[in-house]
Symmetry: C2
Subunit: 469 residues, 2 copies
């Protein structure tokens, strides 16, 4: 039996509302439009709308036509009660966050030349090795369930061994497996730091483009850098209330690519010890050195438990595994693992097993050897293209590792303008202002993601756009 025509219409409208296609507050098409769409008389449309109104789903509103009025969850999400973004919606930062969202969206546009994305190119994906690792996981499989609160024991053992050559002596009990560095920062911010506390960090820093700390009610206090890294004396100069923390990214800093010198690392740790300032050390790019190995992590000098060390396979190997780690004093790791259990009951067993296999089999080291070579070629290609196309209008320094070149444009060039025009010409760059609270003449150029020829093409497009002005 066929449903009556008015029923077809009311079901269609209900479907649109239920799916969220027409959220609460949205206006329905006019009766005339609906009549045309369903090839019925207007009276049939009216019958359908009357039924929906009786359900409390829609209402005729004066001067607005018919409006969706009930869809409880949509209502809740639209009114977005939560303070989650409270801090980040304030003032100047709002504008840059809108840019961040636009960039995030543009980064999944496969038609663009990606000079923005901080993710290794699919061309560098170690397909055969990854297949072999997964097959090994299948072969060795034993029944699994929830993992230990701190993570799979074999993986923590492998991470502990992997950290040793870096000078970090963390037993497996002092290591927490997390789903990447972002989750590490999320757990630290909700579990260890007080609201209203201050986070010192490099300025610029990619943390300005996230809302991790701000969402937890903390303030970011940028510290200037020179070419050896952040300046410890500027931290001393800042008001230090005793409820602060230092976030730093000493090796191939994002976005500037700065490599902190060994001396500076030690000075920073010394300062932190003197004023009892805890350090979060982010070392997600450390394995991606291109010329020579970087100085040891700050954590390697830490004798007083001042440093929480954060690492990850997301940048160097693959973000899809969602495997990172925190190494620190055992009591702190205990607390963070408790929080991790409260938020997601631990990371995927399959990913943890695969990561353990990558690290303990030696495959990861072999793979790094190859990936460094290819990244180096990419970096050199990008630098050559910059030299050829942009040297009249820009300066930059050569990064010794990581993914990014921090390009400073001459003052006469508007970065906002360049970003917009590049985008409409198929090239995505990251304007520097999303990484800071100030105006900057920089953009961040990633040589990691686009096909290598596209990097050159993209930079050539930038030259044309500048010449065009």
């Amino acid at each position: 039996m066929k449903a009556p025509k008015y029923k077809v219409i009311s079901d269609y409208i209900k479907g649109q509302i239920t799916n969220g296609t027409w959220p609460v507050g949205s206006r329905l098409p006019s009766q005339r439009e609906l009549a045309k769409q369903f090839e019925v008389n207007r009276s049939t449309v009216v019958t359908a709308l009357d039924e929906l109104a009786a359900d409390g789903l829609i209402e005729g509103k004066l001067g607005m036509g018919t409006v969706v009025v009930n869809n409880t969850w949509t209502l809740m999400s639209a009114n977005s009660p939560v303070n989650w973004n409270e801090q980040v919606q304030l003032g100047a930062h709002q504008a840059s966050l809108a840019t961040v969202q636009a960039i995030n969206l543009a980064e999944s546009d496969e038609n663009l030349i990606q000079l923005s994305k901080g993710e290794l190119s699919k061309d560098l994906f170690p397909l055969e090795e990854m297949k072999a690792v997964i097959q090994k996981v299948a072969q060795d499989l034993t029944p699994f369930g929830y993992e230990d609160p701190k993570g799979n024991p074999a993986l923590r053992e492998a991470i502990s061994d992997y950290l040793k050559p870096k000078g970090i002596d963390s037993p497996p009990t002092s290591i927490l497996v997390v789903s990447g560095a972002l989750q590490a920062l999320h757990l630290i911010s909700i579990g260890l730091l007080e609201r209203e506390s201050t986070v010192f960090l490099e300025n610029p820093s990619y943390l300005y483009s996230l809302s991790t700390f701000q969402s937890a009610g903390m303030k970011l206090q940028g510290i200037p850098m020179d070419d050896e890294g952040m300046l410890p004396e500027m931290i001393k100069a800042s008001q230090h209330s005793g409820r602060s923390v230092l976030y730093c990214h000493p090796t191939f800093q994002n976005p500037t690519g700065t490599l902190m010198s060994e001396k500076r690392r030690q000075e920073l740790l010394q300062l932190a010890e003197n004023i009892q300032l805890p350090i979060i050390e982010d070392d997600v790019y450390g394995d991606l050195w291109l010329d020579s190995p970087p100085p040891p992590p700050i954590k390697s000098y830490d004798r007083h438990g001042n440093v929480l060390y954060v690492g990850s396979l997301s940048k160097s190997l693959n973000p899809g595994l969602r495997i990172g780690w925190i190494a620190g004093p055992e009591a702190v790791i205990d607390r963070l693992s408790d929080l991790k259990m409260q938020t997601d009951y631990g990371s995927s067993s399959l990913s943890q097993r695969a990561a353990a296999e990558w690290l303990s089999s030696g495959l990861y080291e072999e793979y790094l050897f190859k990936v460094r070579k290819q990244l180096k070629e990419r970096r050199n290609t990008a630098l050559a293209a910059l030299n050829k196309h942009l040297s009249r209008w820009a300066d930059w320094s050569e990064p010794a590792g990581g993914f990014f070149i921090w390009v400073k444009m001459k003052p006469e060039i508007s970065l906002a303008d360049l970003y917009r025009r590049a985008l409409s010409n198929g090239v995505l760059i990251n304007p520097g202002r999303i990484y800071t609270t100030q105006k900057l003449q920089h953009f961040r150029l990633s040589y990691a993601n686009a096909p290598i020829d596209d990097i050159v093409k993209g930079i050539a497009v930038l030259e044309l756009l500048i010449k065009d002005c």
Copy 2:
């Protein structure tokens, strides 16, 4: 060259502090004990301690001996500034949370008979199928990276198809992949609900044993149940401020095993629509029916977007995959996926691929057929053992699915006592009071986890303990 003896001692002590073994505030062994341990003179120990004191690491305190005084992160975690547990540390609930922590610990003790654990027995782990699935993932592998914010498209497609026979029509765009039901609740609580809002829920409910909602500043308001499920009129009776949400677990409720009737489901939804009360429907046990399929989920009757539906593979298949989902209005799913990205950048690609393979290949349905048969045998064995051993002292109803029998002991038996004595006799049960704010004469008995013979043994031990009194 060998290190001087005092250095060996000071390095050892530093190591213990750095590892968190000796957190700040803890007392060092006496000089005499250290001298004995390292077979040195006390003067050598004094030299070592002097060096550590100069580092600011330890201090002699009057009447307390030598104490660890500096280890910044440990200090932060010990002072635990955060309100994360603010609500749950209040009053009566604190006692039951201490019990929850003790139980969590005991659940990983392999020497105990686990009549507590809500996790399928390793005996039921589908090892060959899981290996085959992982091998298929390896075979079909293409380069992967960060997944879509809502999750791997093939998996969302598979979940959408899987939900259809349940009467839930959610397109892949209205589905968010999460790392289990707990993360779903965490995201909803931090992303959609206001602090101070009220969560109506079944009383008792396993949510009382977690701190998900309380940590986000919400109040739990228990609603009594009869054998058809929670009583809608009790919600009406409660003060409803308009900032409330209803959490319910209609199918094989944890801990009572109650199966909500079809009529009750519709009444509850009708009420929620009338008073604009959004519903979170937890359906993690729905696939584990033992006698006949349960009524359709509440979500299947939902035409106004009132229901967020939460499902998972953790109970029915395996918790190590860390794969669950939320289905709801698209605008709400958009918001939750944004939050998910902010906390962990999505779930593991490997797990998502494996889950998609399980669901779309038909393997999951085949496996369910087997697991239901085995669970049914377990349930019947447990019921027979209860009849044989405990019928003089207890009542219970027969669950039609899920993992648990909710056993009510006669008033003369002290549950706290029984729990403690069972534990010291190698049997772990879950006293009912961790699932409620009241005193209860119940315990939750899981027939899912222990080897089937141990279930009978464990119940026999309970009889002996009761007779002993």
